[in-house]
Symmetry: C2
Subunit: 354 residues, 2 copies
């Protein structure tokens, strides 16, 4: 296979804290419902899961935002719940409610039914999508692969859906840690092999989405969310295909634990908007790059305010080195498209310290 | 009116960082659905709002947990949304969905219709409940009054209900700050007068519940949540009835901003479980007392684990001075009652440094 030369390596350079002359920017959920062309493909697919599991459609929507905006990275269009779906938990998506599993994991005996999915068979549609996207990208920008973190996947698997208080999994956490450890261990293996396979298929950076780590106490976060992610990172560093890829760790609501995350082996820490980049940089030193962290709701405001807020965030970091601009959470469906263009322009125009 | 001598002043002493020989404990939402006697009164009331607005019923449920457990404080049974309800926004509670306003504030012209409610007329049922509870308590433990914070009330008033992303109020925040400032200013006056009236009616400590402050960026938190709360605290310090009362400030998800909160004039900072008491104490010094911070979900675990987790939290603080034990959020409906007794006993048995 002929691999075209990467034309825009800003994102990869920033992840590895190499010199850049422009701060790279991409947006979580950049291939999403705010784009009419996405809505059109989604309609054609019939349902969300078909969109995720059909490589041609996943490739199509992955590329859509790149046709509109000068984004510095593509991210695989997929869902964080592909692994439990492959384990047979019966995933479906309900309008306005999010993902639901028909067969949540509620008893230790449920756990015995589960096995690590083989990425190239049971999750082959993801690997095929990556290969297709890489081909279609022609080296324009790098492609990010991703997975949900073990704790986040475990939350959905045990609760069966999104939750406010995580009653079932926390009952395990505070009474039956051996069962919880069994589930987390299975997910460490599954996520590790899944991300390694994504790297082998062509992903050029890997991101761990720890959406629910922020629901934990400090003690529980370190034991049940961060430690499993560290094990995955160590595994990825041991595989030739993934060894040198930038790894991004994003715990939503994890602002209290940056020092611990910076020791995880990840190259980049994702931040939400509740913590400023300047103080975050002061806490982690030069150990990692930072990615973030604008409140997606800023994009509902006036263009002048969007530029001002982007500038406030960039100036808070000060230096251009080791900075990837992003939102602090996924872009939302009612976002005006022209505001996105305005934001990207504001970030690309900024010149900070080298 | 004859005021009986307070028999248990542990809570007030801890709030003011005076010496104690036992760490006081109370639980957010201690008068709530996990108690069968509460369910019974709630049923008799017909609906939640009637329960809140009928002083005899509010008094009854306020006292229920005190009859079961050796709690060190009572908290007025009420809702954080009494002020917007009094403003005429049409509050109702929908099963499994939480509060809904029939007339949310969506336009600057809606704002012109709103006025500061007079506490002794429009919110008289709250003051009557406080007077009745004080009478019925016979000085057993102190009574805490409370209000939602201006930012939190504004969130509900503009969104019309709970929200995941606060789209409408954040559109104001990022484009029309003059309208937002108008609403927040009105709420500063309303909350200030409301809490002062609660003090005059007999509340012995006052708490600001800033449930949604944690949804903000640091910059926005300081401007639109913390600053308004500071103004309220300054007002309460200027009124003879409230001047000397302990004031508790609780921003859920506010762990990044403790230093700022400690400068607010509050006596006590409430903490959720995402930050440990030890590091929190190190950051705020001896300026304030701390209240918290066990994950309510710990109460779903095994009794041995509950005791262990309580001990971990207490030992993290180390000193008995300036510590009020609580959960980091309200106790939830399925909590086993006997686990609550176990927790309170564990806290009361602990002896830390003086």
């Amino acid at each position: 296979m002929h691999t075209p030369v990467l034309q825009n390596d800003l994102f990869l350079r920033a992840c590895l804290r190499q010199t850049v002359d422009t701060v790279p920017v991409w947006l979580m959920r950049q291939a999403g419902r705010y784009l009419p062309e996405y809505q059109e493909t989604r309609k054609r697919a019939g349902d969300f899961l078909t969109l995720c599991t059909t490589p041609e459609l996943a490739c199509e929507v992955t590329l859509q935002p790149l046709a509109r905006f000068p984004l510095d990275a593509a991210i695989l269009f997929s869902d964080i719940l592909t692994i439990p779906h492959a384990m047979g938990l019966g995933l479906s998506f309900h309008e306005g409610e999010g993902p639901v599993f028909a067969h949540p994991v509620r008893h230790p005996r449920d756990l015995a039914q589960l096995a690590v999915p083989d990425p190239e068979t049971e999750l082959r549609y993801v690997m095929d999508a990556i290969r297709l996207i890489r081909h279609e990208l022609h080296g324009r920008v790098p492609l990010i692969g991703f997975s949900g973190s073990p704790w986040t996947l475990a939350c959905y698997m045990v609760e069966g859906r999104g939750s406010r208080d995580f009653q079932h999994i926390k009952a395990w956490l505070y009474s039956d840690t051996s069962t919880l450890n069994g589930l987390i261990g299975l997910l460490v293996d599954s996520v590790g092999q899944y991300l390694q396979a994504q790297a082998a298929a062509g992903a050029q950076a890997l991101m761990l989405f720890d959406t629910w780590g922020g629901s934990l106490s400090t003690d529980a976060y370190f034991r049940f969310s961060l430690e499993p992610m560290k094990q995955i990172i160590a595994y990825l560093r041991s595989c030739p295909e993934s060894r040198d890829l930038p790894i991004i760790l994003f715990t939503k609501g994890g602002g209290n634990w940056l020092e611990g995350m910076a020791e995880s082996g990840a190259d980049v820490l994702g931040l939400d908007w509740t913590i400023d980049l300047g103080p975050a940089r002061a806490r982690v030193g030069a150990k990692v790059a930072l990615q973030g962290n604008m409140d997606p709701m800023v994009l509902y405001g006036a263009p002048k305010q969007i530029g001002r807020e982007a500038l406030r965030i960039l100036e808070s970091h000060g230096s251009m080195a080791g900075l990837v601009f992003n939102l602090g959470h996924g872009i939302t469906p009612q976002t005006p498209i022209e505001h996105v263009a305005h934001l990207i322009d504001a970030v690309h125009s900024w010149k900070g310290r080298g």
